[in-house]
């Protein structure tokens, strides 16, 4: 069975966003000398990244006519 590139990319992005969302629970990161902790940006952007990943998965799916 051949898995499409869209699907692999989609699942990788979904996995990445899920892992990223849980990082702030274990590690209060502050990359560089920024005023806001990086976890704020991770929480704001990870659902958006998840959305991109799911869109890729949906585009990899065929929608056969009934």
């Amino acid at each position: 069975m051949k898995i499409s590139k869209y699907k692999i990319t989609g699942f990788s992005i979904v996995l990445l966003s899920i892992v990223a969302t849980y990082i702030p629970f274990f590690w209060n990161i502050n990359l560089g000398n920024k005023t806001l902790p990086s976890s704020v940006w991770i929480w704001i952007f990870s659902p958006i990244i998840l959305f991109i990943g799911i869109t890729c998965i949906l585009y990899s799916e065929k929608t056969p006519e009934s």
């Binding site: 629970f25 704020v40 929480w43 659902p47 929608t63």
Partner: protein, 487 residues
Amino acid sequence: MTLGITGFVWLVLYLALLLFVIIFANKKSKSDEQTSLLSKRQEFYNAKSSPLGNFALIFTFAATLFSAFFMVGLPGFLYTHGLGTWPYVIFGDVLGMLGLFYVGRRILLIRTKETLSPLEIILPTTFSKILFVVVTTVFILPYLAVQISGFGRLINAASDGAISVFVAAASGLAIMYMYSAYIGIRGIVLTDTIQGVVLFLCACLIGGYITFFQFDGPSDLLLTVYSKTPDLLGSPGPKGFFTFGALISGCILFASIPMSQPQFLTRYLIINPKNDLKYLRTIAIGFGVLLAVASLAILPIGLGGAVLYPNLESGDALIGTILSNFDSTAGRWISGLFVVGVLAAAMSTVDSILFSLGQFFAIDIYGKLVNKQVDEFNTIFTGRIFIFGVAVIALFLGVSNSNLIVYLSSLSFQGTLQLVPAVIGGLWKIPVKSHYTASISILVGVTFLFIFQYINPLSDLNLSPAIPAFILSSLVYLVSWTLHKRS
């Protein structure tokens, strides 16, 4: 918070628009042989032939999820628990896109022209259908009642007590009953579109107003929040709510909605499989975009509110306080629109649930148990009576404001999560011979949901009691199926 002149103008405009759409939908349904309340003719909705097309379908799925909680509860939740609310709510909603697409596609593929209700193709026995309807009613009816009492109270407060809670709730329900029962799903789809647009605009306008008029943009807002109440931007939040387990629980509960809630299951049947199957992906993506953008717009309301009004008694008082302090002309217009937005949010949820429950009772209980020979005319008639019955019961439950109803409504999504194994198994034809698998799985899930409210085996992980109950109901489904397969 009072309605004021601006709110009154918005309300009149909203009701006029709703009336126009209802008349348009009614006229169209009379001239269109393909439209009726509860039949295979629900295929009326042909995206290719309608200028609204995908736009209306996207909005009807999104609007049915936007409840009054979205406009009032979510800013309050952000105010109390901070930024973690955003991934808590939106992660599950975005994952719900997958549920919407795969469950929708499966229903469209296996349905036949004779399919009147989604339960016909999901559940194998009359008993399992009855059980599904009973469980749905127990968990969804209180949620419906709370929404109805919510908009009754809103109008009561906005009219300075001139309109009583009962009269406001009953009037709103009467409007919804008329277009749900007599125009059917077409009326609901079209009114949902208006309600969705109003809601979306409301969230964006208020969020934008706070971000750019009361702060100097998103960065300034976040920096101010961080300097004054840093706990709001970190985990586990000021009250310790956002733990690892809480986020997983929220994700599973919200993601399950398109697979278990009756208003979603009935909506899949309105998509015409011959023309619209390829649009399902667009609908799923549009659904995700709407929810994500609207939720993102709510962020500054809750977080900004925490900085502007830090000493409120509870988060529920936030939105009223913010709107009362909008003293500019633009602010007053936005404030008036908000009242209409909450009304639209409650209406779009209530009408869909009313219709779905009425449909389940008429087709899956009355048509299968009481009168198996019922024809289409009588099914529609029965459906209208059931929708009326559900509306009246929900009205009295909502106005009674009993603790039991409030408690059951808080368990709403947890209860319907226990139906997911039966829905997925039924749609992918897992119970080939095991007719009781679905019923046993639902019974185990719901029973243990109540038991785990008191003794949650996964409380150390901060997981909701619904999660272990859901794991058990899924295991029971798989074990029961395996045993039947072997025998």
